[in-house]
């Protein structure tokens, strides 16, 4: 059984690490710090049809993850939404007045938190990178999405162009190679 050591990781890194490990194994042992990392990982795997046993090891937790009886049903759902990638290329949604476009984009990201089927990844490019940076009103919502297993990436070239390299507050920086590979390896890309 694979062991994933998530100690000393900040959220959402533990959820992302476990999610990646579950792509190849259905049974895992995970070492976790108490508090948000443990809570987020347990919530994430239970939502995806796994069962969990926990053991307190003095200053960290060992959790063992294995499939439940209805795993096949939930696995289908995981596999279906795993394919969806959202590409956001602007801080506004659609054509029209700037104020309305920005409001619609904020509304959409906040709404994603509530919808049943989540994308596996969201890529932010061009002016869209401002949404993942300091001052964005969407950081709370994106942290929730990240803790639900959604991977968030911002274009490094775009961050550099807008002088936002040191202001990224959620997710990771990515390059065009990773972005292009993700877009081409999935069956469903939603461009906004």
């Amino acid at each position: 059984m694979q062991t994933v050591d998530c100690r000393k990781m900040d959220c959402p890194a533990p959820v992302i690490s476990v999610k990646k490990a579950l792509e190849t194994d259905t049974e895992l042992t995970v070492l976790l710090d108490d508090g948000a990392p443990r809570e987020n990982v347990i919530r994430f795997v239970k939502n995806r049809g796994f069962q969990v046993t926990e053991k307190n090891e003095n200053n960290y937790w060992t959790i063992t993850i294995s499939p439940t009886g209805n795993f096949e049903k939930t696995a289908v759902r995981v596999s279906a939404d795993h394919d969806q990638v959202i590409l956001i290329t602007s801080d506004k949604l659609g054509e029209g007045p700037e104020e309305l476009g920005k409001l619609l984009m904020r509304n959409l990201i906040h709404t994603l938190v509530e919808v049943e089927t989540l994308p596996s990844k969201i890529f932010f490019m061009n002016s869209g990178v401002s949404l993942t940076c300091e001052g964005s009103e969407l950081l709370e919502a994106m942290e929730k999405l990240a803790n639900l297993g959604v991977e968030i990436f911002s274009c490094g070239l775009c961050l550099d162009f807008f002088g936002l390299k040191d202001k990224l507050r959620i997710g990771n920086t990515t390059n065009m190679l990773t972005t292009a590979e993700s877009l081409l390896s999935t069956t469903k890309v939603i461009k906004l």
Binding site: R43, E99, L100, L103, R106, N107, H110, T111, V113, E114, E137, E140, A141, K144, N147, L148
Partner: protein, 95 residues
């Protein structure tokens, strides 16, 4: 706290019936440095414009006073309490 909601226990939501009014109210409250967040109205509180302004109990009096002075009072206000939305104020009505 429900992890799939943008509202935490005890927080308040001001529900408006028009996108223009909610956007005006957002700008106004921000200009008064009140900590608010414009979010989609939760399913249970679906409204015409589908938006709500989230704020904390301690800012309630300031929020209401600023909105009243500018004739931008919401349709109603709900508090998120024990996983339910409870209407605590309605325009032109005493609860």
């Amino acid at each position: 706290m429900n992890n799939r909601l943008m509202v935490q226990e005890g927080q308040l939501l001001a529900i408006f019936n028009s996108g223009h009014r909610v956007m005006k109210a957002e700008n106004l409250l921000k200009s008064h440095n009140i900590c608010i967040l414009l979010i989609p109205a939760p399913r249970q509180l679906q409204t015409d414009c589908g938006l709500a302004i989230r704020f904390n109990e301690q800012d309630r009096d300031t929020v209401m006073s600023v909105l009243e002075q500018n004739e931008l009072l919401p349709e109603f206000i709900s508090r998120y309490s024990s996983a339910e939305f409870v209407t605590i104020w309605k325009h032109n009505q005493t609860l």
